[in-house]
Amino acid sequence: MSEEEDDIILSELDDEELVQQMFDDLYDGLKEEIEESVNILLERNWQPYDILTKALVGGMTIVGADFRDGILFVPEVLLAANAMKGGMAILKPLLAETGAPRMGSMVIGTVKGDIHDIGKNLVSMMMEGAGFEVVDLGINNAVESYLEALEEHKPDILGMSALLTTTMPYMKVVIDTMVEQGTRDDYIVLVGGAPLNEEFGKAIGADAYCRDAAVAVETAKEFVARKHNQMSA
């Protein structure tokens, strides 16, 4: 097959084909192609929120699932995230102008003693993409840092991340302090990180363990909807 035949002209694809192509381009971490596709969809009068959810978040969900299943690895996920960031940078100001549904809010950070943030950053990005307002506390957060942020931002969700077996027990320190202060039930607590599992999440008193960014988004939506239902009942 010649190179000419291999070339894909994004602007010549219909909407459905273009969204499928964006899934593939996100998968391959092709930032420029994603930016071009976002602009094409905007020119075709797509709503920024639809581009974000149907094309970008949809594509990253496939990336997340294949990372979980061992088909993709960290570098490919980072390149995909970088491509999504390119698309989001175009959409963000437009989303602010056009108004997008707000799903809820989250404070998230990596726990004390841990500087790993690849997974946390992916969760932040996917949560933002899904319409959550995210306050990212960064790495190496002591219990005081989490509590101050909860007090200041009053989010629906607290997210904690750890990569090390030695640092993951610190999540329990944070949750226990929230229990002591009587604030635990004010928040949905989601935890994640490579060495964690569901059993650990239950044992430390979190509401849920999220094995990847896509699961985190789905879990967050489910818990926030439940919380709102309880409040309106």
């Binding site: 097959m1 035949e5 291999d6 894909i8 192509q21 899934f23 593939d24 381009d25 996100l26 998968y27 391959d28 971490g29 092709l30 496939i62 294949d66 299943d69 061992g70 088909i71 690895f73 960290v74 570098p75 490919e76 980072l78 390149l79 970088n82 003693g113 841990d114 500087i115 790993h116 943030d117 690849i118 790495i139 190496n140 090390l164 077996t165 030695t166 993951m168 490579a194 060495p195 964690l196 599992n197 650990f200």
Partner: protein, 237 residues
């Protein structure tokens, strides 16, 4: 039209196979591990990580542990820690009828306590500590350093210095996408080379690794640390 994306790349994950390697060359230990002796020699079997093969054999020789046989799982399992527990279990079940005792030459190694629980269930002991960086340094000393704030150090052992490209640089995609370096290592400040043997060639290579990663360099000669103590404890009658 050529497909890009997932369809172009979907590959099957290889099923686990017992270690087949017969060489102590690092690449072979990474990919194939070290097969158990064809004929049992000792009465005790150590099932260990391929990244520890040379070190364990050196300890064995220095301490006259003739009754200890060694098999190693491929060191590359560390790239998929979820497979370590399953592979260790399969190896224990394969060998337990033949050996009087089996020990596990892994620390927690990112399994989040799963390996420890599995070893307890199987009735076998494993190396104490979170990972090899900790037991080479000495678990207590390593924990003290972490408590004192050493959390931005990236550690390399002799094995990892030798296998830096195969084990770190290429799997992290840095050969093809150097722009990922700061996304992956941006929160680290120092590369700590924990040497097991004194080797000027390895020391020079470790410094070069630090340069490539954009990190400060520190060398700490640890020797075999708690690994040697643990093996002596296990093999004493």
């Amino acid at each position: 039209m050529a497909r890009r994306g997932r369809a172009a790349r979907l590959t099957e994950r290889a099923a686990w196979r017992p270690p087949t390697g017969r060489s102590l060359e690092e690449k072979s230990l990474s990919e194939h591990g070290l097969a158990a002796p064809e004929r049992k020699v000792g009465r005790v079997l150590l099932i260990a990580c391929g990244a520890l093969a040379r070190e364990i054999l050196a300890i064995k020789e220095a301490n006259g542990m003739d009754h200890l046989d060694l098999t190693c799982l491929p060191a590359k399992l560390h790239l998929y820690p979820d497979q370590i527990t399953k592979s260790v279990e399969a190896a224990v079940l394969k060998h337990r009828a033949v050996y009087d005792e089996i020990f596990i030459g892994y620390a927690d190694c990112g399994t989040g306590g799963q390996l420890e629980r599995k070893c307890a269930e199987l009735g076998v002991e494993m190396v104490k500590g979170p990972h090899c960086y900790s037991f080479f340094e000495g678990n207590d000393a390593f924990a003290n350093r972490s408590d004192a704030g050493e959390i931005t150090a990236f550690y390399l052992t002799d094995f990892l210095v030798k296998q830096f490209d195969a084990f770190i640089w290429r799997p992290m995609g840095l050969d093809k996408n150097p722009e990922l370096r700061d996304m992956i290592f941006g929160n680290y400040t120092t590369l700590v080379y924990q040497s097991q043997v004194e080797d000027p060639g390895l020391l020079a290579k470790a410094k070069e690794c630090a340069n490539r990663m954009g990190l400060r360099f520190e060398h700490r000669h640890t020797g075999y640390g708690d690994l040697e103590t643990q093996l002596r404890d296990w093999t004493q009658d």
